[in-house]
Symmetry: D2
Subunit: 340 residues, 4 copies
């Protein structure tokens, strides 16, 4: 426990479902921060959200918000295509940023952000891969780091959603869902992903017409591990995220979620979470608190722009692997010293 | 989400292990509050804790702290015998209080607090029965309230600690440990406890000389339920709190704590928490946040002085049941309208 | 593996549900035995069962069956009140017997059998406490015998049935159901039960009028252990038998029955067995095979007449404890040398 | 229950570890059969085994044993290369056979057996894929057959051994271990396997020099399912066989093996079986009993020569996939009417 500086004033860019939830989180759950600005191209929505928060100003222009004296840090929760501009503006003001995933929509734009931050000369951005803040993933990571089970050889992942939103495409299973496993793989194993293969069974009758759901995605890594991901976004029965690391001398599995066990009507068992909010609420809270705490200490921690870029590159390989039905190698630029 | 009033200034009375942890919690985890005063009869310790917090004053006299302009609420974490005086002083200043358990050391003093708050005419005290804020207990409570399993008939509880602190007595298993199950029984079932029986097996070799550990404690309730508690404070292997409600049409069990499952060295399974901090950290966080939120809304929620008094009365019956080896009935005064 | 003598000819006395199932078991599942005689006061039923088995004769008189040259051993599955006569006849022919529980309906008659076998000078009877042959109970017993968890201090038991048969009384919960836990307690712990207390919550709405169901039964043992049994014979949702031994340095639990885990419709979990046949089929098979094997080796193993008598004595104490609402001590005769 | 014919006389061919265990099984566990002949090229070993069984003759020549009057059925437990000759001899005597896996060492020889049985005009052979007789696999099969979870889309398998025997090669992981998952896949899903891919992470330090262990094997099926198998034969910590079927509306998992749960020394959990004998003892018992029962009824049930042939063909594709690092398609002859 060290003495703290003054309360952190945060500008939240984007007031959709995710942004509004972050406003609530910072105001009601997070220690040491408050929302001093909200930004949305929809001026009415920005005003409505700002009106609920004492001392919060509504903006339509991110640059204007970032220039305000009571804004010390920026949380980017706008749609992916708007991230690049917002990040570059933040760099101009040298403001710390928590940027929701994806960093940007593709590897080329991610690379531009990487270059811009490199020129700035110090890290400013934490990317919102919030699974790294989930208590179970953190336990798994800690266990792997002790080395007591030996080297990780395989990582089996399950990722299931009740139903996909309208308008989902087969590619979005890779770009919006499996991105989490891409980050988790890199973070848990400390490896880069070098190749992707995507296999698709006959689609489930639950899948909307034309959507290849579920998919079975396989990563190879530069540390010699094999990683598989079952992604099934229309499973109908619940939201489940499970991971099992198979190491030389043992395995470790998370995500069973067995809090309360009931016995009734001829069955034992429990309830399955129905969405990511329920499953990962604590992880979001911990992520934002960690970002606020680090920012107030003058530090940048958490997933970096390099992580955001690497995942974008794996996504592009994954989508090609899905479309062409072949194994696709991942190509990455050399890792800059800033991210070593 | 509603607009919030200014940050709550909290005086923390008592800066021992529990008090110091609450100071850390309010400063680093809790939204909307900060510690403006710490009080300890040990002036040096108070100063040391205050020095780590921006804008926090050290006191040795609780009354002086409560009179300060930047103190809006009080968290009592001093030893049990000091609670009565602190609570009465808080009533004089009409300050909201979060009082760590026990409310006071016995039923007679608890009754005096009850009377004082009743005269005040409104509730000011939330008693620190923090299990009510544990996510699993909350799920169990919600399930029971739906009525889908029918009426609860029995409640089986397990409560195990690695080792008792030096100086523990057989009575402290009832007064310091089983108090939690007394509160949980009353809260989960909505019943008052009417009789207590305590059975003791041959003590474990782990138990310090002369301590009857484990004990098997049985409650009868005015709702016709039978409740059993295994309390074993020197089990050596971990800290475990489990509860199984047996209802007419099913059962529900919490506390298995099966987050990460490993397979290694011929065994599957996981780690058992080693203390209550690990097991109930989230519950403490949630409890203090709930108290801060309610206080800022001008409300008093959570366990009441009546709950503190009722548990004190059950404790007295429990200790007699242990000492005399017989079933002892619990006697309660009539419940005042304030606590209906 | 040793060379085996000729196939054992078994007379099955009683061809009700249990007897008929044993006939099937010996013919189809058991190695080294066949049914050469069936006995029933209902001549038609005996003939019908015999007709399905090659070389099997139907009798109405147990003595006639036991005198037949092709009868080498007797399995008694007639109603409890008929056991005493059957056992005494078997003693006259010095035939080995597997006698279904209860040995006899009360302690006095059990004592007469004890005396008769003692006069015979060697054990002839194995009592049908088949839980001793259940794989999970056997594992628990083995673990306790290693001593690695230390001395057992408590044993928590759950015993639930879907529904009681027509005509059940409150006493039958003790005499027909809890008898299993009486035997299991004595066998697992190696203690005799010295006192019984029975507590009854407000009966479940599932219980037939006038039946006190569930009950909470507490044993004290001469080894200083406390044992509790939840017996709930109209729980509606399944058949469950669970036991948790709490030892000085750890606990061990059996009976969760988690073979196949499904995830569907918002729930994870599995199926609960609906009756004892499903739960204990393997135990019955193993029990009869063990009896056949021992008999062919000229030995008598398994639960003895002393075990049958001791359980009958505990039952009588239990029924008094239920009726009078008090703790009742168990009185046993001195244990004869034959059963040491 | 139907009346049974006389006891089945069985010739056991091969008296190694597996054969000797089957002799013990038939003599001590199986109802309705006895071993009347044992055959081994090692005459001493055959005599030694025969000497322990009443009425059992030792042979060195399978044909001589099969010609004996007291031999009604044959259990082939000799090494794989000897199977073809033994099976053809059994066909000459038109004897029912239980043939341990593999049916024969390769697809070409399996095809010759297929052709020979087809000429015989009726099925005589049950292949020893004993997982079909495991209680948990049987439950999973039953559940899938109800269709209540919808169509199976994926099947995730784990297959782990403590250590490989001396002399194991990378190919044997496919040919000796994954064969079980090949059969299970075909049986559970009712699909044929159409392609195999094998991925290998950097070998575990546990793996003997030059052995690629673990491997990750992927099947595609003619029913549009994707099946993955983790095979890890030097995991060091236990023997584990798990399967998870992912269907359209839910999943089902077997193999967790959670019979007894202990809490001790800071950990909860249980013991992992150390070999297949422990894990599948009941399956072997059930398999042999099912074969004896069917044979006495004059029927042939269980895995057929077609199943043995199909698995051999998948093995050949799997070994090529491993060696060449590519996806290999499986080629099967047309399925004869006898096996429809």
């Amino acid at each position: 426990m060290t003495q703290r500086a003054e309360t952190l004033g945060v500008a939240v860019i984007g007031t959709g479902k995710m942004g509004a939830d972050h406003v609530r989180r910072i105001q009601e759950v997070t220690s040491g921060a408050r929302v001093t600005a909200v930004v949305d191209v929809d001026a009415e929505r920005a005003k409505m959200v700002a009106a609920r928060v004492d001392g919060c100003t509504a903006y339509t222009d991110p640059a204007a918000a970032m220039a305000a004296a009571d804004v010390h840090a920026v949380l980017v929760a706008s749609p992916g295509p708007a991230h690049e501009a917002a990040l570059l503006t933040a760099f101009e003001h040298d403001l710390p940023v928590l940027c929701e995933k994806p960093l940007t929509p593709d590897a080329a734009s991610a690379l531009r952000i990487l270059e811009a931050e490199r020129k700035l000369g110090h890290r400013r951005v934490q990317v919102g891969f919030m699974r790294r803040y989930d208590a179970e993933y953190m336990k798994l990571k800690s266990l792997l780091e002790t080395g007591q089970l030996g080297r990780p050889l395989m990582l089996h992942n399950r990722h299931r959603n009740v139903a996909s939103a309208p308008g989902w495409t087969s590619e979005m299973l890779i770009n919006d869902s499996v991105t989490h496993e891409m980050d988790v793989t890199r973070w848990l194993l400390g490896h880069e992903i070098t190749a992707v293969t995507v296999l698709t069974p006959t689609p489930s009758d639950n899948a909307p017409d034309g959507i290849r759901d579920p998919q079975f995605v396989i990563f190879e890594t530069d540390g010699g591990a094999i990683v598989d991901v079952e992604i099934y976004v229309n499973c109908g029965f619940g939201y489940q995220v499970q991971a099992e690391a198979v190491c030389e001398r043992g395995t470790a599995r998370i995500g069973d979620g067995h809090a309360m066990v009931t016995h009734a009507a001829g069955r034992w068992g429990g309830i399955i979470a129905q969405d990511f909010v329920e499953r990962f609420a604590d992880a979001y809270d911990r992520e934002v608190q960690a970002w606020v705490d680090a920012t107030r200490r003058g530090e940048v921690t958490g997933p970096s722009v390099w992580d955001g870029y690497a995942v974008a590159a794996v996504c592009e390989a994954g989508v090609r692997a899905l479309e062409e039905g072949v194994r696709v190698e991942v190509e990455l630029v050399e890792r800059p010293a800033l991210y070593q």
